[in-house]
């Protein structure tokens, strides 16, 4: 066997160095631009839509509750556990909206990174001005929320504090992308600001301000406040408890006075009673989505409010003509 000459040795050395460098490069590279997006699990589709606005390509946001489901009641499925176990960030609406199902899922998923208090846990209501915090709470009032009304995403202006809460969470779990998240969040806020101005203008042109409405539940309080509607009564004043004949009678009498413009209902409730009340009183019933992805065409937070105004406009005109 002949000893290797100088050129062969040099080639082998160069090859070895190249392999070593390449390996190092491959190991170092992911830290600079991770191709794998962060897994963000949200309770509702609205939060997932806003997380996509803030995170862009860097996140993969999935909602546990389908857009057409009542977010108060969600059946746990094994797939939710798997999603939560692998999640980098968990975002909830909070204010006890998901109290019936999210805490159990979080505990069951055994993912300490997203437990309450951990960096990967976001309560989207943290920076929102919450209304209707009750003075006294008792079960006799039905399924009420002691921490205030949790349906705050239906005021489009609240999209901004929601986005900021999600941005803060994303920065905590992936500090390297902070600049990206901050830029995207600011962009979303400015687009949202413009859209809110557009919706307010639309509300003005519809003559929405000061109009009286009856809603099924308290879900529309924020929407009403944002666009100056006055909610005068509810079909089911105590959530989860069917209304009594006395209440329905009073409600019909109130609506027959003629100053109620609309009867508004979330689309996941039983429409039979509202339909009958609408027939009796002549007040038009409008059944509305309350979430992104409620219908396939509602893909973004912006689509949701466009859809709401597209439905309210004709319903209001139909009522005025009567």
């Amino acid at each position: 066997m002949r000893p290797p000459d100088a050129t062969t040795r040099a080639r082998a050395l160069a090859f070895g160095a190249a392999v070593l460098l390449g390996t190092c490069g491959a190991l170092v590279a992911p830290a600079r631009s991770d191709p794998k997006p962060l897994s963000v699990i949200t309770t509702t589709e609205d939060l997932a839509a806003i997380a996509r606005e803030v995170g862009g390509e860097r996140v993969r946001a999935i909602a546990l509750c389908r857009g057409y489901q009542d977010p108060h009641f969600v059946d746990a499925k094994p797939s939710y556990m798997v999603q939560l176990r692998n999640a980098a960030l968990f975002v909830q609406v909070g204010r006890d909206l998901e109290i019936g199902w999210a805490p159990g899922l979080l505990n069951g998923a055994r993912n300490p990174r997203i437990l309450p208090g951990a960096p990967g846990f976001v309560d989207a209501s943290a920076q929102v001005q919450v209304i209707e915090i009750p003075q006294t709470v008792s079960r006799s009032q039905g399924d009420v929320h002691p921490y205030g009304n949790p349906h705050y995403w239906l005021d489009p202006a609240n999209g901004a504090p929601i986005a900021r809460a999600i941005r803060d969470g994303l920065v905590r779990v992936s500090p390297a992308d902070a600049a990206l998240f901050e830029r995207r969040c600011a962009e979303f806020e400015s687009r949202l600001g413009a859209a809110v101005a557009r919706w307010k203008a639309e509300a003005r042109s519809l003559g929405l301000a000061g109009r009286k409405v009856v809603t099924y539940h308290r879900s529309w309080s924020y929407f009403a406040r944002a666009f100056d509607l006055e909610v005068v009564d509810f079909v089911e004043p105590r959530p989860g408890i069917p209304p009594s004949p006395n209440h329905v009678q009073d409600l019909v009498a109130r609506m027959k006075r003629g100053d109620v413009a609309l009867l508004v209902m979330e689309d996941f409730f039983d429409p039979r009673l509202p339909r009958r009340i609408s027939e009796q009183t002549g007040v038009p019933l409008v059944i509305l989505p309350t979430s992104v992805a409620d219908e396939p065409a509602i893909r973004t937070y912006f689509d949701l409010f466009d859809r709401l105004f597209a439905a309210i406009g004709p319903a209001l005109e139909g009522g005025t003509r009567r």
Binding site: I241, P245, Q249, A253, R272, L273, R276
Partner: protein, 274 residues
Amino acid sequence: MIEQLPFLMWPFLALLCIAGIHVYLGLHVVEREVIFVDLSLAQLAVLGAAVATLWGLDPHDPPTYAAALGFTVLGAAVFSFTRSERGRVPQEAIIGIVYAVAAAATVLILNNAPHGAEHIRDVLVGQLLAVGREDVLRLALLYTGVGALHVLWRRKFLLISHDPAAARAAGINVKGWDFLFYVTFGITVTASVELGGVLVVFSYLIVPSVTAVLFARGVGTRLAIGWAVAALASALGMLTSVWLSAPPGASVVCVFGALLVLAALARPLITRRA
């Protein structure tokens, strides 16, 4: 009270229609010892409606109603073929199994069903206050039809419920008549459950006939007692609902319970005198 009357009239008339046919069918049900058959058939109807949504039908389309009816007829076939006097499996077991599997299958189907499917579950809850004139007319028409069949063939229907062995000895096709019984029964309860909910319908079916069985033997007397109890419970239930400002369905069911307790307490006094 007076101002509530117009709003309560149609629900009350609907309850009287329900009482009319359910008290009679309840006598059969208690006699046959198939107490929960109405829950089972109603759940099958819901499963049928859920399956219809898989084909993209709206929960309120007529084909959805046809699918619900189809599954009810299927249940009728199962119940008429699983009835036998010397079978080791009690029929209540079959009824319970059908109920559990139908309910679970509904959950699985609605799990991935398209938008709107969640309303299918509303069918089992009912919404008495939403009952209007058309609902009452529809019920009255349907129940008159079912009632006419049962009046026409009352001897056969009563005999197969009361004494199937004697019916078979008399040359009656018991399975065939059983099937017809369950089909009419299924159509009846599917319509009533949608308006009143399962709790209300169960009460109208079972409580009056149990009360009647406490006091009388003949079918005619039992029917009279049952109808009186059901009418009384309907009226008192509606009054209670207004008085307590409570949901009408739950009020009627609790009044039924109270009436049964009173009847049971009064029984020794009345029978001793008789």
